[in-house]
């Protein structure tokens, strides 16, 4: 058994920042990650980091933009914390050597981004995430923080009191990918989940193969609710064949979208008469799909993004990386022809419910980064607002887990007297466990809730048995088949346009996936670097996460931010200024709601129409 004060699961931008903060606060901290840190998907971020750094800008403007972008489903205390802390935390990156793009006077450059009232997106070429990730890893090396890389975390060691608010997290169970050994990691002060997005629940996505929602699924099964999972951002400009992202920076610099008739449709068809291509992402994604559905798409599939008029010099200076991506992954030279683009799954606004200090309702369990929901992004994330979230809330979670006092949070977590139960919606199938795949609670087999070590040992034993079972089973279904079915169901029915019937169909298909998963087996007999085993476990996590996305999409009968419902195409503030929460109770999802907090430090954000 390994033992540390703070254990951070995941070493992308959020996890690395949390580890550095915990180290700064004096804790003995370790990072446990299924990928080596520099392989994390933060490295793919292109556009930049929003922070109010310059004269004429301030955090209040940034907060206002973020609230408006969120379609008034962001919680004001979270949004204000983000926008207040982002400037200092961004400058800190510069002090750690981050190679930001520069102005004539040597200061860091900022550029316009969609939905922002001021050009506050701080960038390093079109590869901001790569630099952020490497700079953060450099700090981890500098501080000598212990990294267990290529260790796959399977489960949390949490107590199992009836009320999740009374539970406590004592550590994690992980296996060493290289050897297959399952081990326990005891966390004396806290566990921070920073496992990134769940994009692999969809077929066409800008997310990496490793973005499988593992942290979501582990926290969910341990009793922490998942919040606002229905809010999935579809990025308007991904390459059709692979899902590789073409940064919003292209439109920020002046790139233009055309349909097959050469019309600049964002204006000419009235989707966004003021902001055009720079309207919020959900607006642009729906506009593109509408163009395609109405027969104005190129090859009935996509639209064109043209940046040729920006000129070679400017493109090479600011968007060079885009040229490589278009060439390598679509065979298109962005200097001489327009690039084909279509919407692709990109970001999960929802996630593990946490407060401003990154803590879930379970004592000692934290989450930060894309896997968490504070909520900063509400119904829709603005471009450039995820990277600051990683550093601001990664840092706070690390500090708090290490025992630093950050004041009492205003955001509440878990099931309590301020929530309202879901009672209206009829489900097409029984969601939740289909038997074998449930992760048994520690005391479930008769034991009295043990001490931290006892719990951890039991969890390790469970995990070993589970791995043995999967490996020893000789035939059955393989994960790839189930995963593909799941991804197709989500992309077909829980995409940009959602209908009640479609989402119900998805839930039925997800149920089928669960049932097929009962018979899943791992063909590769080797304990050495068994990616077959890893993907089999990930597929189980994807099923749980996909189900919460579909459930959220079904119950929320309104159109807010990225979530569009055919049956009620208005933002229904009277009924829906509230978060959807789904928690796992005895193997079944329980759905409830918590009101959104629109009262900020010294003002209230009044919901306004979101027009661009």
């Amino acid at each position: 058994m390994y033992e540390h004060d703070v254990i951070v699961v995941g070493a992308g931008g959020a996890g690395l920042r949390a580890a550095v903060a915990a180290d700064e606060a004096g804790a003995d901290v370790a990072l446990v990650s299924k990928l080596h840190p520099v392989r994390s998907h933060t490295g793919a971020a292109e556009g930049g980091i929003n922070a109010a750094l310059r004269e004429g800008d301030d955090w209040e403007l940034h907060a206002y933009d973020t609230m408006k972008g969120s379609d008034y489903l962001g919680d004001a205390p979270a949004v204000e914390t983000l926008t207040q802390d982002a400037p200092e935390d961004t400058i800190t990156l510069e002090h750690w050597g981050m190679p930001f793009s520069r102005e004539e006077d040597g200061r860091v450059s900022q550029r316009p981004f969609g939905g922002l009232s001021f050009p506050r997106t701080t960038y390093a070429g079109a590869e901001t995430g790569h630099h952020l990730l490497h700079v953060m890893y450099e700090q981890v090396v500098k501080r000598g923080i212990q990294v267990y890389d290529e260790w796959y975390v399977m489960d949390l060691a949490t107590t199992d009191e009836d009320d999740p608010n009374d539970r406590e997290c004592h550590g994690i169970v992980a296996y060493d990918v290289q050897s297959g050994n399952v081990e326990g990691f005891k966390a004396n002060d806290g566990v921070v989940l920073a496992t990134g997005g769940p994009g692999q629940a969809f077929d066409h996505t800008t997310n990496a193969v490793s973005c499988t929602g593992d942290g979501h699924a582990m926290a969910y099964r341990a009793g922490a609710p998942l919040e606002d999972m229905e809010f999935i951002q579809f990025h308007p400009t991904s390459l059709p064949s692979t899902g590789v992202l073409i940064s919003e920076g292209v439109r920020g610099e002046g790139g233009i979208l055309y349909n097959n008739e050469g019309e600049r449709f964002m204006f000419e068809h009235g989707y966004a008469n003021n902001d055009g291509e720079l309207a919020s992402r959900d607006v642009v994604a729906r506009a593109e799909l509408t163009e395609v559905q109405e027969g104005r798409g190129v090859n009935d599939e996509y639209v064109h993004l043209d940046m040729r008029h920006l000129g070679e010099e400017r493109i090479l200076d600011r968007l060079e990386n885009i040229l490589h991506l278009a060439e390598d992954f679509e065979g298109v030279d962005g200097l001489v022809e327009p690039m084909p683009v279509k919407p692709g799954q990109h970001y999960a606004m929802g996630g593990i419910e946490v407060d401003e200090n990154g803590q879930t309702c379970i004592n000692g369990l934290y989450a930060a980064g894309e896997c968490a929901c504070v909520s900063v992004h509400g119904g829709n994330r603005l471009g450039g607002n995820a990277l600051p979230e990683l550093i601001v809330f990664g840092k706070r979670a690390g500090y708090h887990a290490a025992g630093k006092d950050l004041g009492d949070p205003e955001i509440k977590t878990g099931y309590g007297d301020d929530v309202e139960d879901e009672t209206e919606t009829e489900l097409p199938v029984q969601p939740g466990t289909a038997g074998l795949d449930s992760s048994g609670g520690v005391a479930a087999d008769g034991g009295v809730t043990a001490d931290a070590e006892g719990i951890l040992e039991r969890k390790v034993e469970n995990a070993r048995e589970h791995v043995d079972y999967l490996m020893e089973k000789d035939d059955g279904v393989q994960h790839a088949e189930i995963r593909q079915k799941l991804q197709n169901a989500m992309t077909d029915y829980v995409n940009v346009f959602r209908t009640e019937e479609g989402v119900k169909k998805a839930l039925r298909l997800i149920r089928e996936c669960r049932e097929e998963y009962q018979d899943v087996y791992v063909d590769d007999p080797s304990r050495t670097f068994n990616t077959d085993l890893q993907q089999t476990i990930e597929t189980r996590n994807l099923i749980d996460v996909a189900e919460t996305i579909a459930l959220g999409a079904l119950v929320r009968n309104e159109f807010r931010g990225a979530h569009w419902r055919q049956e009620n195409q208005i933002r229904d503030d009277e009924n829906w200024l509230k978060h959807t929460l789904i928690s796992w109770e005895d193997g079944e999802p329980k759905i409830f709601y918590r009101p959104v907090i629109l009262e900020g430090q010294d003002k209230t954000y009044e919901p306004k129409e979101r027009s661009y």
Binding site: R39, H130, A208, V209, T242, D524
Partner: protein, 293 residues
């Protein structure tokens, strides 16, 4: 085991075909000396592949599994699709033919650096290499000069160790107070100067292609030297730190080992002018009058 010592066995085909070409195959290392195996195809040629299957021969090894303890090549017929990369091809083979086929991959877009393989005798990034640009059949092997863990997965620890040796983090004594929101100034020219060097994705292709690194296990290698360049040339670091960095670099297993063969520069998927960077550091070391080896 290491690809340096092992001679792969004859192919054990997944789908029967005998391939005389693979008999008594050379080890990846010998093969490396040969030409890259590219064919300069026009777009017209590329589209001819549409609807065809391409044969890939993939190196297999698993220390734990009886019939994989002796390295071998497996053959897979993969249906070609426009835009198909080497990574797509091995993923197809894994998901449809053999789920135990093992390789690292994640981002699919040339930023995570996980999938550097030895493809047709050259170090390449799987996700960035178009199948249509390669001579067929396509031979896919783990990176030479590194221990093979399993199939295409190599042990990266030595590579990481070398990266860590050069103190790969920014060092500055007197940065302004962050709460004042004052950044350090840097000229555009200076940012431009370090730009290419900051693009490294730690894929290890350069190190694997380097003869010197193969012969001298302690040689820092192109990627680590480039990492040091990234800091040494950054004006935000002070002169005495730069000197400290040059001292690390001019040690016995440092820059002077490089014999300017350009193999690293040729394989770097991020087009980093590695050899130039190493040469420039040698000149800096001379200017500073540091000791030669």
């Amino acid at each position: 085991m290491s690809t340096q010592q092992q001679e792969p066995e004859q192919p054990e085909s997944q789908e029967a075909p005998e391939d005389p070409e693979m008999r008594g195959a050379e080890s990846p290392v010998d093969e490396r000396e040969k030409a890259g195996g590219d064919i300069d195809q026009t777009t017209a040629d590329r589209s001819e592949l549409e609807g065809e299957t391409i044969l890939i021969k993939v190196f297999r090894y698993d220390p734990e599994v009886a019939d994989k303890q002796e390295p071998r090549f497996d053959e897979f017929h993969v249906p070609f699709e426009k835009g198909m990369t080497v990574l797509d091809a091995v993923m197809y083979a894994r998901d449809n033919y053999d789920s135990s086929l093992t390789f690292r991959h994640s981002c699919r877009q040339a930023v995570c650096g996980s999938d550097a393989f030895f493809v047709n005798g050259k170090q390449r990034l799987g996700c960035k290499t178009q199948m249509a640009d390669l001579e067929h059949p396509v031979r896919i092997e783990p990176l030479p000069h590194q221990e093979v863990v399993k199939d295409l997965v190599v042990d990266m620890d030595h590579f990481y160790d070398q990266m860590h040796t050069v103190e790969p983090y920014f060092q500055s004594e007197d940065t302004p107070d962050a709460s004042d929101l004052e950044e350090q100034r840097q000229s555009r020219e200076n940012r431009e100067k370090v730009k290419m060097s900051t693009r490294c994705i730690w894929c290890g292709a350069c190190m694997s292609s380097c003869n010197i690194a193969a012969g001298d296990n302690e040689y820092l290698g192109p990627a680590a030297i480039n990492k040091a360049y990234r800091f040494a040339m950054d004006d935000r670091e002070d002169a005495d730190i730069k000197e400290h960095r040059l001292r690390i670099l001019e040690q016995e297993h440092g820059v002077w080992r490089c014999q300017t063969q350009f193999s690293c520069t040729e394989v770097c998927p991020k087009d980093i002018p590695l050899t130039e960077h190493i040469q420039e550091l040698k000149r800096e070391a001379v200017k500073k009058n540091l000791k030669f080896w």
